[in-house]
Amino acid sequence: MSLGDLQRRLLTAVMTGRPVPELSAAGQRVYANNVRCQLLAALRDTYEKCAAWLGDDVFHVHARAYIEAHGSTSWSLDHYGSDFPDYLARAFPERLELSELAWLEWALRTAFSGRNASGLALEELHVRDWDGVQFSFVPTLMYRQLHTNAPALWAGIATGQGIHTRPSDSATDNGHGVRVWRHELTPRFVSMTRAEHACLDLLVAGATFGEVCEWLSSTAREKDVASAAGSLLRAWATDGLITGVRETG
């Protein structure tokens, strides 16, 4: 048997726990156990809040099922588990908070060691023509719509306070979504309104600040546009999200 064939057979054996007959079964059990423990530890580390929310035993069962279906394709264990939020969405269709909590944990993990970039303060944004300006954001920025109060759940688990899951507060728009980024060395998240979500979508796609204001005026009362746009800009600058400006005019 060639080395390649041997390695493919042995790898399958240690990943599945079904040993190659001509090799020591006891030895293969040690390797299979090592592999399982490593991948389980990686999932537990990344999805610590999910494990706390689900309970250790239930988390273990689903982590095992995920491992059965998903081999690691990266040299880094930090990359393992990127599909776990989707797995939880399929496994618990009635408990949306689980996949959203998992997404938040994955985003925070990704931001933790993402590319460095310095955010500009508001007074560092030297712009002559605000209508024509485009923004660039820190590379660790991730955001999405949510259907549950997963960010509050995350915080409640982190502080050890009891908290109940509930749908996001869409009536007041405060809990429409969440954005995650890293400020200096610390990953952070805040809740995001529907308007902020839409504005970020536009700016990330290359729209100018003037186009964002136009969109706001189509949804807000005319007199609110300047105030709404200014508030968003201040929040992004304060959070260190804006890394650069480019005037297109």
């Binding site: 060639s2 080395l3 390649g4 041997l6 390695q7 493919r8 042995l10 790898l11 240690v14 990943m15 001509e22 090799l23 020591s24 006891a26 030895g27 293969q28 059990r29 040690v30 390797y31 090592n34 592999v35 490593q38 991948l39 990686a42 081999g71 690691s72 394709t73 990266s74 040299w75 880094s76 264990l77 930090d78 393992y80 931001a111 933790f112 060691s113 993402g114 590319r115 460095n116 590379p139 890293r182 060395l185």
Partner: protein
């Protein structure tokens, strides 16, 4: 271009793990070097690289990898090697080390150090990969003997002979893990004295000392316990035969308070009394 040869380094160090970062940064600890897991720092930015840079300001650092996958029939992963080289060029480590093993094939990574048969074909594959890696990294590698839990009936060499041939063909150096020697020798019924006699001792740059556990059927290299007397005894016998080497305590699980590890390291500094219970 010939890879850079890591100069010998005589000293005593610890495997640096997260629970001890703050103490290593708060004050100078009594170690000559630390070893960190390369992959934990092969990231784009953030706290890991910031921490490592501050550690490097105070200590010599060895970069120890677990995913170079040098024994794989897949060949080397050039993206992995580019990232490692960038880290090494920044950190300027004592050396880059990894294992005489493979971790995956066909694009799937087990994240465990899987055993190689000691055959001519496996040596050809491993030597080619080591040469490719050294070329990409610009540095000669330091490679560790693994703990193994199975052996192959078609072996045509023993482990020391395999390691000797690897050094001759690639110019690589060795990281002698004394615990791994004990674990593998016990699991496979080998004579440790004969094992060490056949090794090219002039190629050894570093020593790992660690603990293991008794598994259901065999010893398992768990790094979760103090260095046991059996491993201290081997260390005491082997050390006088080596030249300048860096000696290190390696603990990855059940990590104790730092003073406990420093106390173990003190024992490593005194090989004459190292076997005294």
């Amino acid at each position: 271009m010939q890879p850079t040869i890591p100069p010998p380094f005589q000293g005593y160090g610890l495997g640096l793990r997260v629970p001890h970062y703050a103490e290593f940064l708060a004050r100078q600890q009594p170690v000559d070097f630390v070893e960190v897991i390369s992959e934990n720092f092969m990231v784009e930015g953030g706290r890991p690289l910031d921490t490592l840079a501050r550690i490097r300001d105070r200590y010599d650092v060895a970069l120890h990898g677990v995913s170079m996958n040098l024994g794989s029939d897949d060949g080397v992963d050039l993206d992995y090697l580019r990232r490692l080289r960038a880290l090494a060029d920044t950190i300027e480590p004592l050396w880059l080390s990894d294992h005489v093993s493979w971790t995956g094939v066909g694009g799937i990574n087990s994240h465990d150090l899987l055993p190689l048969p000691y055959t001519v074909e496996a040596l050809d594959v491993l030597a080619r990969n080591v040469l490719d890696a050294q070329d990409a990294l610009g540095r000669a590698l330091v490679l560790e003997n693994p703990s193994t839990y199975l052996s192959f009936s078609d072996n045509t060499m023993d482990e020391p002979g395999f390691l000797r041939a690897l050094c001759e063909r690639t110019g690589c150096f060795l990281l002698l893990d004394v615990n791994n020697i004990f674990v593998s020798a016990t699991n496979h019924g080998l004579d440790t004295e004969a094992w060490i006699e056949r090794l090219p001792l002039d190629r050894v740059r570093q020593i790992h000392l660690a603990g293991h556990s008794q598994g259901v059927d065999m010893l398992v290299d768990t790094h979760d316990a103090p260095v046991p007397e059996t491993v201290w005894d081997l260390y005491r016998r082997f050390l006088p035969r080596l030249g300048e080497v860096a000696v290190m305590i390696e603990r990855d699980d059940h990590i104790p308070p730092l003073p406990e590890l420093l106390s173990e390291l003190d024992r490593a500094r005194q090989p004459a009394i190292v076997a005294t219970p």
